[in-house]
């Protein structure tokens, strides 16, 4: 039953208990590989709700990589839930629900990927789907920048330099994920960009109304309307 198609909005959303295949440190982050089970990896930019051992609510995570038979997540241990996920041992199993939400629109002609900090998480899978387009990554420290290894060939800057400084005059089709100030800067520099936003999510599938963000002056559920929003639907 638990593994049945749950008909959550889109088809193909399933919930299964998946075992950890490996867990490796990438700078301050952890790359957690889970067995894929019967789950569909979905479209880049979509996310999964991962059970966080010992916590009541699951945590939303973008799919980072989809090697055969696996689902891999890049996790920043910022609180109790993400720490519990980073502490998973091989063979530990957790419930995973997904894929959820709206991913990036891949019908772009001149893609440019932009990521900041843990916002790099969905980009490796996205890059693969788009055939390795150019990408710009910004990090807080050299240690965080170690995560750039997940996206070979990317241009990388470390603070005080900002990733938006690297944006060309005519950036093309920007697909970005990162902290809100970075997204705001991109909105100004690259109108029409596809931006993956974040908000705390309790359910991830439209049940709780806990994840609302203001879109065109109204509170919309980010897990239903996003997480990827095109700039015109953005905050301002």
């Amino acid at each position: 039953m638990a593994s049945d198609d749950l008909s959550l909005g889109g088809a193909g959303v399933r919930r299964e208990r998946l075992a950890a295949v490996s867990s490796e440190r990438v700078g301050p982050y952890t790359l957690l590989r889970l067995e894929r089970g019967g789950l569909d990896p979905g479209i880049p930019g979509q996310f999964f709700m991962l059970e966080a051992p010992g916590r009541l609510l699951p945590r939303p995570m973008s799919l980072c990589l989809a090697p055969p038979g696996e689902l891999a997540f890049l996790i920043d241990p910022i609180g109790a839930g993400t720490r519990a996920l980073c502490d998973l041992a091989v063979a530990d199993a957790i419930h995973v629900l997904g894929p959820l939400g709206n991913g990036f629109d891949l019908s772009v002609t001149r893609p440019l990927l932009v990521g900041g900090g843990i916002g790099i998480a969905p980009l490796p899978y996205l890059s693969e789907a788009l055939g390795g387009p150019p990408s710009l990554l910004g990090f807080r420290t050299e240690r965080h920048a170690e995560a750039a290894s997940l996206l070979p060939g990317a241009e990388v800057v470390v603070e005080p330099r900002l990733v938006t400084e690297l944006l060309p005059e005519d950036p093309g089709d920007v697909l970005a994920c990162g902290p809100e100030p970075m997204l705001e800067a991109i909105r100004n520099r690259a109108p029409g960009a596809q931006l993956a936003s974040e908000a705390p999510m309790a359910c991830g599938y439209g049940a709780c109304y806990g994840c609302v963000v203001e879109i065109d002056g109204r509170y919309e559920r980010l897990c239903v309307a996003g997480p990827v929003l095109s700039d015109s639907a953005g905050k301002d």
């Binding site: 049945d4 008909s7 916590r55 009541l56 309790a202 439209g206 709780c208 994840c211």
Partner: protein
């Protein structure tokens, strides 16, 4: 007596984005609908606590007209009975919304949210609100009560006298949690409603007290997450349980809880959960609390 039905708790499932989950229920309960549309409260709207969560959604809903026009028709297609949760800020609010719903064939039952902290003093006027609603509709009426009261049985008797057919027990209770960094409230609206496993013993005591006080059908809720929990609510006197917070972590919970409940009942030598209803009270010595 039928086996324990399994519903969702109001505000904890959107059947239109999760039709498969809604179809796994014995009835779908809508998020509370108010006379006018409401945008709800500013985020953050929820925060996790040790064994529960706080929410301050603030009754975001399209208003009764938008609901009847845009939401009800697709809900009617689902093939499960539709319960509409109704909220308001005065007796005439409740009456007008109920009158509108009375005309909607797709509506099986009306649940009166008499326990929304937005409605100041609601418990005191619960009977008046229920009375106003009763006058406006002949649909089955359930009164949803707050656990934040000294004597919930008194409220139960009052709404029973006002003519409701059942009780939904319980709504959230007010709670506060601070952000560990800022020491400011973790919710945009400071105080929120507390739900989840931590609420369960409180909810169970309310079901127990009301089952003794009135002869109404009871939908029990508050932290139900397993068949064992559903069994406890049934034993305390509930005929149905509603799943709230558990749906956020496990949308497959309705089928799971139903299956677990069946197994628990058989393992204990009861043919069905129905045989367990109210069994906690058998040979009960006293319903008066004696803690301090």
């Amino acid at each position: 007596m039928e086996p324990t039905s399994i519903l969702n708790a109001s505000g904890c499932l959107d059947a239109l984005v999760a039709p498969g989950v809604a179809r796994s229920l014995d009835a779908f309960v809508t998020k509370t609908v108010t006379p006018l549309p409401r945008e709800g409260n500013p985020p953050p709207r929820f925060i996790e606590t040790e064994a529960g969560m706080l929410n301050s959604i603030g009754l975001q809903n399209p208003g009764i007209e938008g609901f009847v026009r845009d939401h009800l028709p697709p809900l009617a297609e689902l093939g499960v009975p539709i319960w509409v949760s109704v909220g308001g800020f005065s007796a005439s609010d409740y009456a007008s919304v109920c009158a509108l719903l009375d005309d909607c064939e797709a509506v099986a039952t009306v649940e009166l949210n008499l326990s929304c902290p937005n409605v100041e003093e609601a418990p005191e006027t619960a009977a008046e609100l229920a009375h106003a609603a009763r006058g406006a509709t002949s649909k089955p009426l359930y009164a949803k009560l707050s656990p934040a009261t000294w004597d919930i049985a008194e409220t139960a008797r009052a709404v029973a006298d006002a003519g409701v057919d059942g009780l939904s027990l319980v709504n959230t209770i007010r709670g506060l949690a601070l952000d560990p960094q800022t020491l400011r409230p973790g919710l945009g609206r400071d105080v929120g409603g507390y739900s989840g496993p931590a609420l369960r013993p409180i909810a169970l005591a309310c079901v127990w007290a009301c089952a003794a006080a009135v002869d109404l059908t009871i939908v029990g809720m508050g932290g139900v997450a397993s068949g064992r929990d559903a069994l406890d609510f049934t034993a305390a006197g509930a005929s149905a349980v509603a799943l709230g917070t558990i749906l956020f972590s496990d949308p497959a919970a309705p089928a799971r809880v139903r299956a677990e409940l069946g197994v628990e009942s058989i393992d204990r030598g009861f043919g069905s959960p129905a045989a367990i209803r109210g069994i906690a009270r058998k040979e009960a010595t006293s319903a008066v609390a004696s803690a301090e």
